[in-house]
């Protein structure tokens, strides 16, 4: 392995050299690690994150008061940003078909509601969902790369992805190899994402960091930067299988990575918090955060999604409450 370090394009923070450890580059005495791709080396160093400061900032988003028209508009936006999800071992064609119907008919007794953004299923269910949704505006997202653990060989992950795309998935939600990331093999994670991106073809790629396993916000930020530079169209917090999932602190940290990338390159990256957002209030706080960190350009389902299964009904309940002044029983909302 070379004695000359390739030129690194640190165009952002000049102190970055001291922040990128040699192990990251794979130059460690006598050890041979896979050679990082040249693109990996152009990722700027990630800024450090102060957890206390992030918590304070997130608390401020929650003091914004969303009422009246702003609330109604916000709730409809939330509905329209949901990736209605079922990811269980016991998923069946029947379950997926029913969810696909619900995705397009959230609450037909109250006309004028938007549909959700997408349904999110396992690769084996993509074909069923495609048959059900046909050419609906509701997209089909499929998890892949040996979701949720990602503990499978690269060839399997690629095949998993290609299969989902060939079955008709519009979007692929991949998981990163958290084990490799925590072992310091960031270049491996980068290359893996880049390879899956290629396998996606026209499908948009969401990269799941599984932040609940990354343990620090510094790691969340670094993983976000790697995913963005490796070709992610979206970055996503969690699989929903690990707690904590999409906390506001984690989502905020990822939004800042998107913001910095946009400021540097002008390229927009999408964001998808998933797992744990089950109430309208929390969803609206997330929208406040997107609006204030990234701007209104991101407030559409092209750039922001909620990965959730139970959020939709809570939002519907809030919409009906705002409309009628009364809370209706949960039994009035379908449970698909």
């Amino acid at each position: 392995m070379g004695s000359t370090i390739p030129t690194v394009n640190f165009d952002w923070i000049s102190f970055s050299t001291e922040c990128v450890s040699l192990t990251e580059f794979g130059f460690f005495y006598g050890m041979s690690k896979p050679k990082p791709s040249p693109q990996f080396l152009s990722i700027p160093a990630s800024p450090s994150i102060d957890k206390v400061g992030v918590e304070e900032r997130c608390a401020r988003f929650q003091t914004r008061s969303i009422k009246n028209d702003a609330k109604m508009q916000g709730l409809k936006m939330v509905l329209n940003m949901i990736d209605l999800t079922t990811l269980e071992g016991k998923d069946t064609p029947g379950k997926v078909r029913q969810m696909c119907y619900k995705a397009q008919h959230l609450h037909d007794s109250y006309p004028g509601l938007p549909t959700v953004a997408a349904v999110c299923v396992y690769p084996s269910m993509v074909g069923i969902a495609r048959k059900e949704l046909k050419d609906s505006i509701v997209k089909i997202a499929s998890v892949s790369t040996a979701f949720p653990s990602g503990q499978a060989p690269m060839s399997v992950k690629l095949e998993d992805t290609r299969f989902a795309v060939s079955e008709g998935a519009d979007e692929i939600d991949m998981v990163i190899s958290r084990g490799k990331f925590l072992a310091g093999e960031h270049n491996f994670v980068f290359d893996e994402i880049a390879a899956i991106k290629e396998a996606c073809g026209k499908a948009r790629l969401k990269v799941i960091l599984e932040t609940g396993e990354l343990s620090t916000l510094d790691n969340v930020r670094r993983a976000s930067d790697i995913a963005i530079h490796a070709g992610a169209d979206f970055i996503k917090t969690s699989t929903g299988k690990i707690q904590p999932a999409a906390t506001m602190q984690v989502t905020y940290t990822m939004l800042m990575a998107i913001r910095d990338h946009y400021d540097r390159t002008g390229i927009m990256i999408g964001m998808k918090p998933a797992g744990g957002i089950s109430t309208s209030k929390l969803a609206l706080h997330n929208l406040v955060m997107v609006k204030e960190v990234l701007g209104e350009k991101w407030l559409s389902n092209e750039w922001f999604r909620f990965g959730a299964s139970s959020l939709a009904n809570d939002v519907l309940m809030q919409i009906m409450k705002t409309e009628t002044g009364l809370y209706q029983s949960p039994e009035y909302f379908s449970m698909d």
């Binding site: 952002w12 923070i13 000049s14 102190f15 922040c19 800024p47 450090s48 994150i49 102060d50 206390v52 400061g53 992030v54 304070e56 900032r57 003091t63 914004r64 008061s65 969303i66 009422k67 009246n68 028209d69 702003a70 609330k71 508009q73 916000g74 409809k76 936006m77 509905l79 329209n80 397009q104 008919h105 938007p114 549909t115 953004a117 046909k134 609906s136 505006i137 509701v138 800042m256 400021d263 929208l287 609006k291 204030e292 209104e296 407030l299 559409s300 389902n301 092209e302």
Partner: protein, 489 residues
């Protein structure tokens, strides 16, 4: 099948609807008298002045203007209460009264917050989440000390001072009253307190609470008025202790006035505090800290981080992010829960701020203000940033006491220490770095009473606050704050 028209619900943008805190639950009298010896008494001059809402210039109430004679009555009442009741009372009994005041304040927190916002112009978010809870906590904290003074100062005999004359500013009206009254009472002193002329209402509401608490008559007296009222308190021969928070100019007057007497004094004066950002700082959180440091309470904060020092290597990045963050601040009706920056406290203060903004422009500094709308009525000022500033610029030397930040760059640690200390003030400083050792290096070398690390404008009743140099002397808060109200033998 869903309609295939559009799958986007955000074509018109998303604005927060106004969300005004209601004022229906507050009780304000048309006019307020002086609270002396447990009673509401008319000023001997018969004069009243108006206090207005700086956000809409409407009159809120008329308030008595106390003269020398009224101050004399108040001091006499405080002396009598000190001699006959308060200094003789068992400390644990004193504590009960202070606890009771704290609890009553908590119960009326919402009313106090709304009145504070109406009278001072500060945003309801701040008065609700910061001013009022902190004020309550100061009473709770010092109530706890009242019967533990011997433990506060081990091996010493602790005695109270007597009558404390206290003069407080308009930037944190209720909180400053709490900072002053709570430790004084806990240590066994009685009080004559004068709130600022533009913001007397929450101190008068506090007087109502004190009345309700059954505190013995004369232990706390509240006299409202202008500078002459304050001067009468300072000059009164039977006042044992003067505690003042306000401008350095008035602080110097007080120093002169009490020269040659045996009055004890603590002064908490102006500041021009340095907020220092190193290149290895958590940049986004530092930006938040800068905003919180200078735009908190419209910049009407004596310890505001008004001089920003950024290491040159990250200066461009920090300034860009700072401007972005400033663009997301809401300036407007202080009663709106979404308002970040409320109204400037008074017309006079707005003129001072505008004068300095003009000076800054004339000095050739580069100004940035977000393009937000500000209300046409009332006193408002956009958050303002001056970059390209030198140490020799007036705007980097003098206290502006408004939402105006100056930005200077630096290269090395030694340079920034020298520049930060190069000021007649020395109240506070902020240091932002990922390196623990650097924090300790700076905290020992910065000549400032408070140094925050990776945060700014954090207050707690248990932690002392106060300045070096022309920022005053004596400490408030914590054990140190108690020391200012006792004689140790």
């Amino acid at each position: 099948m869903a309609k295939k028209t559009t799958n986007k619900s955000n074509e018109k943008g998303w604005e927060y609807a106004p969300s005004l805190e209601s004022t229906g639950h507050i009780e304000l009298k048309e006019s307020y008298d002086l609270f002396i010896d447990g009673k509401w008494v008319k000023p001997s001059s018969g004069k009243y002045f108006e206090t207005i809402n700086p956000a809409n210039e409407k009159v809120l109430a008329k308030v008595a203007h106390a003269n020398e004679e009224d101050v004399d009555r108040a001091v006499k009442a405080a002396r009598k209460a000190y001699d006959t009741v308060w200094s003789k009372m068992a400390p644990s009994e004193r504590a009960k009264y202070i606890f009771r005041i704290a609890r009553l304040m908590q119960e009326r927190a919402r009313e106090l917050a709304v009145i504070e916002t109406l009278d001072a112009g500060k945003s309801i978010r701040e008065s609700r989440d910061i001013d009022v809870p902190l004020a309550c906590n100061h009473f709770f904290y010092y109530a706890g000390w009242a019967d533990k003074l011997d433990y506060a100062f081990p091996t010493r005999k602790v005695e109270s001072l007597g009558v404390a004359g206290q003069i407080i500013p308009w930037n944190f009206p209720l909180l400053m009253a709490a900072w002053k009254i709570a430790p004084a009472l806990a240590a066994g002193n009685t009080v004559v307190l004068k709130p600022a002329e533009t913001t007397p209402l929450t101190a008068l509401k506090l007087a109502e609470i004190i009345e309700l608490s059954g505190l013995p008559a004369g232990v706390v007296n509240i006299v409202t008025g202008f500078g002459d009222t304050g001067a009468a308190i300072v000059a009164h021969p039977d006042v044992d202790k003067v505690a003042f928070t306000g401008s350095t100019a008035v602080g110097k007057h007080i120093q002169r006035a009490i020269a040659g007497t045996d009055k004890k004094v603590t002064l908490e004066l102006g500041g021009k505090s340095a907020n220092i950002i190193f290149e290895d700082a958590p940049i986004d959180q530092a930006v938040e800290g800068i905003v919180n440091g200078i735009f908190f309470n419209q910049g009407h904060v004596c310890c505001a981080g008004s001089r920003l020092f950024v290491q040159e290597s990250v200066a461009e990045l920090v300034v860009r992010k700072l401007k972005q963050r400033m663009d997301s601040l809401y300036v407007g009706d202080p009663l709106d829960k979404n308002t970040d920056i409320g109204a400037i406290n008074s017309k006079e203060q707005l003129e001072v701020i505008n004068k300095y903004i003009k000076i800054g422009i004339e000095e050739g500094a580069e100004m940035y203000q977000p393009s937000c709308e500000i209300p046409s009525k009332g006193y408002f000022c956009k958050p303002t940033l001056f970059s390209n500033v030198a140490q020799s610029n007036l705007i980097a030397q003098e206290e502006i006491f408004g939402p105006v930040l100056t930005i200077q760059t630096f290269r090395t640690v030694d340079e920034v220490i020298q520049k930060a200390n190069n000021s007649p003030f020395g109240l506070a400083a902020g240091v932002w770095t990922d390196k623990g050792s650097r924090i300790f290096n700076l905290t020992t070398k910065l000549r400032a009473g408070v140094v925050w690390a990776n945060t700014y404008n954090k207050f707690d009743p248990a932690s002392p606050f106060g300045g070096y140099k022309e920022s005053g002397f004596g400490r408030e808060g914590g054990l140190h704050g108690l020391r200012a109200y006792v004689k140790l033998k």
